[in-house]
């Protein structure tokens, strides 16, 4: 394998009339890694992807995909990448098999090769039973899977996914994530745009946050979370009447304490697990009943709020309480390393 990065955006600009949709965006995606392009609707994610995939010509700047310049050698780019667009762009009146054949043949694959891999792809994306049904009869999740299968038929080393899980139910979403992880294990480089903070957190090695066409932050999920502020210890009391006494206790351990009476919740700034242990011990000694006590690290959602001053439009799935905790404990160890 050659040593050039899989994807490079070099000072990309796209203007539509007076409106600058993408304003000097640059980033590099090393081979075999996943870049999450995170931002709200209209931030310029799709326009960036359209330029990198040669669908749209940059106003200025350029980029490279698998070493091919997107402006000077668009055909080289098209031979090296697959694209799954925002709406599942499969042909509704064709069957899954015909869709694969259409794109396979137009990708420059031989008839024999296309028919050899078709069954494998259908099987892999759990579409074998529906292979000869027209796509119109498919569910949203099936369409997405077919869309991805179609994008993979020429085994591109670089894959662009524009909001691949928008509109999917949580189960189809996590299934798709699993598929994408599999691809990365096989060596494919992914660039995915998403509004879902959780998705970027789950899949991406590096995240580039864009808002209003410019890159406002970049780094690993852990680095970004670290930027948003320190961790805090959150205590939820069983009985609201203990609030005043409990708040005083917490103040003895932490300089900054915030009380939310309605939620019977006390939040204290903390620097790590030791603070949580200390506050836990204080409560145990005082006899105040506690429903929950834990360390909360900032989520990507907080990062987004911190960077842009507003929440990501769609926070669906971003703050699922389960699953999060495990990630945070792991994140804790990585912080020290990432802070540098």
């Amino acid at each position: 394998m050659s040593t050039h990065p899989a994807i490079e955006a070099i000072d990309l600009v796209k203007r539509f009339g007076d409106n600058t949709a993408v304003d000097h965006v640059s980033f590099v995606v090393p081979q075999g890694t996943v870049l999450g392009l995170l931002g709200p609707n209209g931030a310029g994610k799709t326009t960036t992807v359209r330029m990198l995939t040669t669908l749209s010509v940059p106003t200025s700047g350029t980029g490279r995909v698998a070493g091919h310049d997107i402006v000077k050698d668009p055909d080289g780019v098209r031979r090296s990448m697959g694209l799954t667009g925002q709406a599942a762009t499969v042909d509704e009146l064709l069957t899954a098999r015909e869709n694969l054949r259409l794109i396979g043949r137009l990708s420059g694959l031989s008839r024999r090769y296309v028919s050899q891999v078709t069954d494998g792809l259908l099987d892999r994306f759990a579409l074998s039973d529906a292979a000869n049904r027209i796509v119109k009869t498919y569910s949203g999740g099936m369409r997405r899977r077919l869309d991805l299968a179609v994008s993979l038929i020429a085994a591109p080393p670089v894959l662009f996914l524009d909001e691949p899980t928008t509109g999917l139910d949580p189960r189809s979403r996590s299934e798709l994530w699993e598929v994408l992880r599999g691809l990365v294990r096989e060596g494919t480089t992914l660039l995915l745009t998403t509004q879902y903070l959780e998705e970027a957190d789950q899949l991406a090695d590096e995240i580039v946050v864009i808002d209003k066409g410019t890159v406002i932050a970049a780094g690993t999920p852990t680095q970004l979370k670290d930027q948003a502020g320190r961790a805090s210890v959150v205590v939820t009391l069983t009985d609201a009447t203990d609030l005043v006494r409990a708040a005083d206790l917490v103040r003895s351990c932490s300089p900054e304490v915030h009380v939310e009476p309605a939620a019977r919740r006390i939040t204290a700034q903390a620097s790590g697990l030791e603070d949580m242990t200390r506050i836990g011990e204080v409560f145990a000694a005082s006899g105040i009943q506690v429903d929950d006590l834990g360390l909360k690290r900032p989520s990507l959602d907080d990062v987004f709020l911190h960077l842009t001053g507003h929440r990501a439009e769609d926070t669906h799935g971003a703050d699922q309480p389960g699953g999060k905790d495990a990630g945070e404990t792991r994140g804790e160890d990585e912080v020290t390393e990432a802070v540098r």
Partner: protein
């Protein structure tokens, strides 16, 4: 979905299959194949050129035909070439709707992300539309034969008549690509094209001779490219009524003029169409 080992043929970057970007002809052919499957899956797409055309033949032959006098020819003989011309003119609407639909659904984007010539998207669309319209012409030909229309000339002239129809259809396709590249929804295309196409095909000698039209209208009708083509087909197939001596010049030289019109329309609309499609494709 939980067991996720890739079949070796679609594995990582190192073992990619051989990729030979298809030629314009092969890519266009593949796109035509796809468009023809659409027609097969939705035969109602053909309604406009089949059921509707047959209905027109029957309506004009039996309802209006009795009241329209055509000197030196039977009305049904006069009518058939006219309706075939109308069908070819409507191929522009078929192209435009197909193209807008593909643009709207992101299919064009997907095709553009592949290593094919972008022209193949248009060439494929045009060829399948010509096939679509030709099916209509064939259905009408059969209906015509049943109601008494005949080609009364030799094979060469008969063929030339059909080639003229195709040439004109080709010119109209550029108009369709132009409109299709500019419009955002299929409904808008449909609205616009039908508003333009109906006067274009009716203010002509398509369904009735121009002699009895009011003066201004008659001039417009006789200079309408549609009239020259209809007249040319009638002459080539031996269906032409006697031409009044005061008919406009294009009708006196109908075959020549329909070729000329096709070339002029192509020269006007092809650059417009290509620049509109390219503009739509850049963003």
């Amino acid at each position: 979905m939980t067991t996720l080992s890739l079949p070796t043929a679609v594995a990582g970057a190192e073992e990619r299959p051989e990729i030979r970007p298809p030629s314009l002809v092969r890519a266009s052919g593949t796109i035509v194949w796809r468009n023809l499957i659409h027609i097969k899956r939705m035969p109602e797409m053909l309604m406009d050129v089949t059921v509707q055309s047959v209905m027109f033949v029957l309506l004009f032959a039996y309802v209006f035909g009795g009241s329209i006098a055509v000197s030196g020819s039977s009305y049904r003989e006069f009518l058939l070439p006219g309706i075939m011309v109308q069908t070819m003119v409507f191929s522009s609407a078929i192209v435009a709707m197909g193209l807008t639909n593909d643009l709207q659904k992101g299919i064009v984007d997907r095709l553009k992300s592949l290593p094919i010539s972008r022209a193949s998207v248009l060439v494929g669309r045009s060829i399948s539309s010509l096939i679509h319209s030709s099916i209509g012409v064939a259905v009408m030909g059969v209906t015509g034969l049943l109601v008494g229309w005949r080609i009364r000339t030799g094979l060469a002239e008969a063929t030339l008549g059909f080639l003229l129809l195709l040439l004109f259809g080709f010119a109209m396709i550029w108009l369709g690509i132009w409109v299709g590249s500019m419009m955002r929804t299929v409904e808008a295309v449909q609205g616009l094209m039908f508003t333009v196409m109906f006067p274009l095909t009716f203010v002509a000698n398509t369904f009735a001779p121009t002699e009895n039209m009011p003066n201004v209208l008659r001039v417009v009708a006789e200079w309408n490219p549609v009239s020259a083509l209809a007249q040319a087909c009638r002459e080539l197939w031996g269906n032409a009524p006697a031409m009044p001596a005061d008919a406009a010049w294009p009708l006196q030289h109908a075959v020549l003029m329909s070729v000329a019109w096709a070339l002029v329309l192509t020269a006007v609309f092809a650059p417009l169409a290509l620049s509109a499609f390219r503009r739509r494709s850049r963003d």
